[in-house]
C-alpha cells in the first residue's frame, strides 16, 4: 500500500504551512480582541501603540481596513472585522497592530486602550432554552420541525402513549473548538498581478473567492496557496480573520504582512461547535421494534445566527426504522463566538443523545443493545421511498461483536482488581455526499502524468488519493502520477469538508482521465501521426493498434508535443432521485473506572465501518482512528466553559483538555468493503467524519455498563461518578 505521499516532507520540516512563508520586507500583524461580550466600542486609544517601537499601522473600527462582507455561493456571507463598532462576543477581533517584528506588534497591541458601552450579555444555553427560536429551514428547504406519523396516529405523543416501553431523557453536549494544531495564519503578498495568499484552509479556490469578494477585487487577481494545512476539521472552511486582515493590511501598506492568531485567539476569533440540549423519547414494542422516536434539539448559536448544529436532523431523522417520528431544531442566540461545522456537525453530538437513549431502551427492554439496533435496522430513512444504496450495518455489528468479544459482556460489567470494567457500543452513520469538483489530468512526454485540483489536504490524505485514483484511471503505476493540490490557480475542486473529497475529486479524475485518453487517441490516429487512420485503443499507459504499441510519452514525443491535457467535472446528480446515501459503522469501547478515585480510562476501542470502497487502507485507518479518538475526547475531555460575562474560562491548551498519548489505548479499525457505485463511479463514500460519530455514546454506555451510572452529558468527569 502506498504510503502518505507528503510524509517525507512532513517528517523533515520541509512541508511549508502558511506561517512558514517569509518574504523580504514582510511585517507582522497582531490582532486585538474585545474584552466584553456585548456592547459598542466607545473609543479606542491607539496613541501609545502607534508610538511604540517598530509600529507602522494600527487599524480599528475608527481607522478600518478596506474590507466588506464576503459573499460566495458556497458559504453565503462571511463576516469581516473592523467594519463597525459592535461587539457581539468576548474575544471578537476589533483591531490589528502592524509592526516590523512579531514582538513589536504583540507588545504594541497590549498598549491599545479600548473603552466600551456595555450591554448585558446572554451567555447561558440552559437559560435560553425557554425562549429559543425556531431554526431556519435547511438548505434543501426541510423545515426545522417535522413529523412522520403512521396513518391514523394523531401525534407523536399519542404514539408514545401507545408504546409498551418508553424511555425519555434529556442529554447535553458541550461547546467545542476544532483546535487544529496550526493556528489560523496568513501571509499576504501583493504584486502587479494581485494578491497571493498563503493560508491553510479547506479549499483554495473557495478562499480565493471569499478574499476577492471581501477585497472587492476581480477573482482572477486573487491566488490562494495552501499546499499544507495543519489540521482543519471544519474550522478552516471559511476564510479566517487572519487572512482577511493580512490581505487588507498588505494592500494598505504595500508590503507583505503575516498575521498569526495566538492559540487563545483561535478559541474566540474563529468559530466553535455549538453546545446542545436534546430531549429524546423512544417508544418500543416489547420485542424492541421502535414505535415512536421523538428528538427535540436546541443549540447555541452566535448572535448572527449563522450556523445551527442539526442534531436531530443529523441522526434521528434517518437512522432507525420507525413508523412515527417527530424531530425539531431550535436555536438560542448568545453572545458567544461564532458557531460552525466541526467534524460531524449534528451527527457527533446528536449521536451521543440518540445512541445513549437506545442503550437506555435496551436496558428497559432487557435486550442486547446490538440486537435492539439490528431489530430496527432500516432499508430507507423513515417516511422516505429512496432505499439506502448500499447498507451493511448488520455486517459491521456482527463482525465487530466477534472481534471485540461482545458475547462475554455482562449486563453489569465486571471487576478487575480495583477497576470496574464495562463495554459499550453505538451505531455510527454519516451521509455520503459529493460536492461539485473539477480536476485536470495531463499526460506528459516523459511518460508521467499530473492530476491537479485546487482543494486542500489538511491531513486527510487527499494528495495520496489523487495519485492512486489518477493512476488507476490512467492505467499506470502511482509513482508516475504527480498530484497537485492546494492552489486556487488549479482547476476548482477537492474541497475537504463534509467527508466528500475522495468521492468528489475521485469522480472528476475518472471523467478527466477518460477525456484525456480520448484526446490522446485522436492525436495518435490524426493525419501524419504514428497511428494515422487506424483503430487505436489504450491500455497500460500505451496506445495500441495493429500489433504496434507506443507509450503515451513516446507518442507525444513523436508528434513533438510536450503534453496533452483535459479537465473533468463531477457533481451530484440523478443518483439523488434514486437512492439515499450514507456510510455506516459500529463503534465499540471498553472503559475502566477506578473503584475509589473514579478515574475513567478507555482501555480498548474498535470501529467497523461500511464506507464503500477504501482507496488506501493505511491512510483510511489513520483517519478513522483520529475520528474515534475525537469521540473519546468529546466523551471524556473536551468542553469550553463560558463564564457569565462571555469569557472562555478555559480557552487555551492548558485547560481545554484534549487527549494525549497516555490517554489512548490501541485502536482497532476494520472496513467491510462494499463499493457503492450507485453513489459515484469510484465507489468510495466518506470516512473523514464517521469515525467520530457514535463514539461518545459508546463511551458513556460503557461507563454505565461498568458503574451502573448513566451520565447524560459530555464530557463525563470524575465528579459524575462519585456516589
Amino acid at each position: 500500500m502506498a504510503s502518505r505521499l507528503d510524509g517525507p516532507l512532513k517528517v523533515t520540516g520541509r512541508a511549508t504551512y502558511g506561517a512558514d512563508n517569509n518574504f523580504p520586507g514582510m511585517v507582522y500583524g497582531y490582532v486585538v480582541v474585545s474584552t466584553i461580550a456585548n456592547g459598542e466600542i466607545e473609543a479606542l486609544d491607539a496613541t501609545a501603540a502607534k508610538s511604540a517601537p517598530g509600529v507602522i499601522g494600527v487599524y480599528s473600527p475608527f481607522d478600518p481596513l478596506d474590507l466588506r462582507t464576503a459573499r460566495t455561493p458556497m458559504f453565503g456571507e462571511t463576516w469581516v472585522p473592523l467594519q463597525n463598532r459592535e461587539v457581539a462576543y468576548y474575544g471578537q477581533p476589533i483591531g490589528l497592530v502592524v509592526a516590523r517584528t512579531f514582538e513589536q506588534a504583540r507588545d504594541a497591541a497590549m498598549a491599545v486602550e479600548v473603552s466600551y458601552v456595555r450591554r448585558p450579555a446572554l451567555t447561558s444555553l440552559a437559560e435560553g432554552v425557554a425562549t429559543a427560536e425556531d431554526a431556519p429551514p435547511g438548505r434543501d428547504g426541510t423545515p426545522s420541525s417535522l413529523s412522520v406519523l403512521a396513518s391514523g396516529v394523531e401525534s407523536i405523543e399519542a404514539a408514545l402513549a401507545a408504546s409498551p416501553v418508553v424511555v425519555e431523557a434529556t442529554y447535553t453536549t458541550a461547546t467545542q473548538n476544532h483546535a487544529a494544531m496550526e493556528p489560523h495564519s496568513a501571509v499576504a503578498v501583493w504584486d502587479a498581478d494581485g494578491l497571493t495568499m498563503y493560508s491553510g484552509n479547506q479549499g483554495a479556490n473557495i478562499q480565493a473567492m471569499e478574499l476577492a469578494s471581501a477585497l472587492d477585487c476581480e477573482p482572477s487577481t486573487v491566488r490562494s496557496v495552501n499546499p499544507f494545512v495543519g489540521g482543519a476539521f471544519g474550522g478552516k472552511g471559511r476564510t479566517s480573520v487572519a487572512a482577511f486582515l493580512a490581505a487588507a493590511a498588505a494592500r494598505a501598506l504595500d508590503r507583505p504582512v503575516k498575521v498569526v492568531l495566538s492559540r487563545e485567539q483561535v478559541f474566540t476569533a474563529t468559530a466553535t461547535r455549538a453546545a446542545t440540549v436534546q430531549a429524546m423519547a423512544l417508544g418500543a414494542a416489547r420485542d424492541g421494534s421502535l414505535i415512536a422516536v421523538r428528538h427535540d434539539s436546541w443549540c447555541s448559536t452566535a448572535m448572527d445566527r449563522s450556523f445551527v448544529e442539526p442534531t436531530s436532523h443529523g441522526t434521528s431523522r434517518e437512522w432507525y426504522a420507525t413508523e412515527n417520528l417527530a424531530i425539531s431544531q431550535k436555536m438560542v442566540p448568545l453572545n458567544i463566538p461564532p458557531t460552525t461545522f466541526m467534524r460531524a456537525p449534528g451527527e457527533a453530538p446528536g449521536s451521543f443523545a440518540l445512541e445513549s437513549a437506545v442503550d437506555e431502551l435496551a436496558i428497559a427492554l432487557d435486550m442486547d443493545p446490538i440486537q435492539l439496533r439490528l431489530r430496527n435496522d432500516s432499508t430507507a430513512p423513515p417516511g422516505k421511498d429512496l432505499l439506502w444504496s448500499s447498507k451493511h450495518l448488520d455486517e459491521c455489528f456482527q463482525l465487530g461483536a466477534a472481534r471485540f468479544g461482545w458475547a462475554h459482556r455482562s449486563p453489569h460489567g465486571r471487576t478487575e482488581g480495583d477497576w470496574l470494567v464495562g463495554i459499550g457500543t453505538a451505531t455510527a452513520m454519516f451521509p455520503a455526499i459529493r460536492f461539485p469538483a473539477t480536476v485536470g489530468v495531463t499526460l506528459r512526454a516523459d511518460d508521467t502524468a499530473v492530476v491537479a485540483t485546487s482543494g486542500a489536504d489538511p491531513g486527510t490524505g487527499l494528495l495520496t488519493v489523487l495519485s492512486l485514483v489518477g493512476a488507476e484511471s490512467l492505467d499506470i503505476t502511482p509513482d508516475r502520477v504527480t498530484p497537485r493540490l492546494g492552489d486556487s490557480a488549479l482547476p476548482p475542486g477537492g474541497m475537504s469538508g463534509g467527508s466528500t473529497a475522495t468521492a468528489s475529486a475521485g469522480s472528476a479524475i475518472m471523467v478527466a482521465a477518460a477525456e484525456v485518453i480520448d484526446r490522446l487517441l485522436d492525436l495518435a490516429s490524426a493525419p501524419g501521426a504514428p497511428f494515422e487512420g487506424l483503430e487505436v485503443s489504450y491500455a497500460d499507459g500505451q496506445v495500441l493498434a495493429d500489433g504496434r504499441v507506443m507509450t503515451f510519452g513516446e507518442l507525444l514525443r513523436a508528434v513533438k508535443q510536450e503534453s496533452i491535457s483535459a479537465t473533468g467535472s463531477s457533481a451530484p446528480g440523478e443518483e439523488l432521485t434514486k437512492h439515499s446515501f450514507s456510510s455506516f459503522g459500529a463503534q465499540f469501547c471498553e472503559v475502566r473506572v477506578h473503584r475509589l478515585t473514579r478515574e475513567i480510562r478507555v482501555s480498548r476501542m474498535l470501529g467497523v465501518f461500511d464506507a464503500g470502497r477504501i482507496i488506501n487502507a493505511e491512510l483510511a485507518r489513520s483517519q478513522i482512528i483520529g475520528g474515534m479518538i475525537w469521540g473519546v475526547s468529546a466523551a471524556l475531555h473536551e468542553g469550553l466553559e463560558i463564564e457569565r460575562n462571555g469569557r472562555l474560562a478555559n480557552g487555551d491548551f492548558a485547560s481545554y483538555l484534549l487527549p494525549v498519548n497516555a490517554d489512548i489505548p490501541e485502536v482497532d479499525v476494520h472496513f467491510v468493503e462494499h463499493p457503492d457505485t450507485l453513489h459515484n463511479a469510484v465507489g468510495a463514500k466518506g470516512i473523514g467524519e464517521i469515525g467520530t460519530v457514535g463514539m461518545a455514546a459508546a463511551v458513556a454506555n460503557a461507563v454505565h455498563n461498568a458503574t451502573g451510572i448513566r451520565v447524560r452529558h459530555i464530557p463525563i468527569t470524575i465528579e459524575d461518578l462519585l456516589d
Binding site: 517528517v11 504551512y17 514582538e103 492559540r263 487555551d652 489512548i664
Partner: protein, 150 residues
C-alpha cells in the same frame, strides 16, 4: 542584543530583543521553520527542539539564553537519508496534517536516546489533534528496534 546560535551545525549571528524566543528566532529570523508554533505557551509541544541533546520547548526558551548547540527537525536527516525516527513515522503513518510532527519527532528521538520505558507517558507533552497517537507509539517502537539492531 547580539547573540550567536549554533543551529544544526551552523553558527548564526543575529541581533534580537531580549524577549525573543528561540522559536521565533529560528522561524522569523533564521527562516528555519521546521519547529512550529501551536500555542506559544509550552502547552502543545509542536515547537520541541533539542538544545545540547535535550528536548526543550523553544517557545518557552529565550534565544539569548541559549549557549549550547540547537538541533531541529530540519537538521535531523543526512541529505535525503531520513533519520530512523523520521523513516518510522513515514512507515507507520504516524502523522496526518503534519503540523505537530516536527515536535513529535524531536521528542521521539529523545525518548529513544534516553531509553524511556513508558513511551506513551513521555510523549504526552506533544498534542496531536489528528490523534495519530497509536501510530506514533508504533513508529517509536520501530525506530527503537532499528536502533537496537545497529
Amino acid at each position: 542584543m547580539d547573540i550567536s546560535l549554533e543551529v544544526n551545525g551552523r553558527v548564526e549571528e543575529l541581533s534580537v530583543d531580549p524577549g525573543v524566543t528561540l522559536l521565533d528566532a529560528l522561524r522569523e529570523r533564521l527562516g528555519i521553520t521546521g519547529a512550529k508554533k501551536g500555542c506559544d505557551r509550552g502547552q502543545c509541544g509542536a515547537c520541541t527542539v533539542h538544545v545540547d541533546g535535550r528536548p526543550v520547548l523553544s517557545c518557552l526558551t529565550l534565544a539569548a539564553t541559549v549557549r549550547r548547540p540547537v538541533r531541529t527537525v530540519d537538521g535531523l536527516s543526512a541529505g535525503d537519508q531520513l533519520h530512523p525516527v523520521q523513516q518510522a513515522f513515514v512507515d507507520q503513518d504516524a502523522l496526518q496534517c503534519g503540523f505537530c510532527t516536527s515536535g513529535q519527532i524531536m521528542s521521539a528521538v529523545a525518548a529513544i536516546e534516553q531509553g524511556v520505558e513508558d513511551v506513551r507517558e513521555f510523549m504526552s507533552g506533544n498534542i496531536c489533534r489528528c490523534a495519530a497517537y497509536p501510530n506514533i507509539v508504533a513508529a517509536i517502537e520501530q525506530a527503537r528496534r532499528a536502533d537496537a539492531s545497529l
